[in-house]
Subunit: 102 residues, 2 copies
DNA sequence: ACAGGCAGTCAACTTTTTCTGACTAATTGA
DNA sequence: TCAATTAGTCAGAAAAAGTTGACTGCCTGT
């Protein structure tokens, strides 16, 4: 996605919009909104999504600080993705989008 | 963009998100938010944007009823794009996105 | 020891999106 | 009459995003 500099094109909303765009990000966000999500769970949940797509969506959302990756040191040792503070701040906006769309 | 059926993938916000996604749509929306916009004005304003990109963004946003195309019967006869009712209902969400991003 | 789940990565291919440049067609001002 | 402006369209190329399938490496249960 080649982010970072990008000149921002004087449209601040564009950045957030991009961060939630893409074929699977809204669904990942929506899933993470309810409870922490895991890679293979998403793969099963989002029918038609490839490992690649999910991996790069998660990576981008992590880089943009929408979600946080955590290694859980429990019996079977797994990884969880949860909404970051910034991610949680987007929830009300996401809800409003759902209301308008519905 | 192949819209219409699409199964909605049980994520209602996705639709709105898509309608405002793309390289130039957020900026077009932002511009139309202030005052009616015109094709060639956008072409000058959005540096780097091609005619094609602007034309298809406008067409899609019109099809999705975010903006409305009007032929203005004045001296030089031109075309204006303004936010539709639905478009205006998105304004507060857009503003919130700007606030979070800024 | 082996199978299966988890969490990925990589290369090759396809699809979608965007850009470039040429072209159309009506109107207007010099 | 000629050039410019407005509002596009079209084909082809390039870039970005997504999919497929193979492969890795760790851990756990049998």
């Amino acid at each position: 996605m080649e982010n970072g500099s990008e000149a921002q094109s004087q449209c601040p909303a564009e950045s957030l919009l991009k961060q939630l765009s893409g074929k699977w990000k809204p669904q990942i966000f929506r899933s993470a909104l309810k409870q922490p999500v895991r890679f293979n769970a998403l793969l099963r949940e989002l029918e038609g999504a490839s490992k690649q797509a999910i991996a790069s969506a998660l990576k981008e959302m992590e880089e943009q600080d929408l979600i946080r990756k955590t290694i859980i040191n429990e019996k079977p040792l797994h990884i969880e993705y949860t909404l970051s503070e910034k991610g949680r701040s987007v929830i009300p906006i996401f809800k409003q989008l759902e209301n308008l769309a519905g």
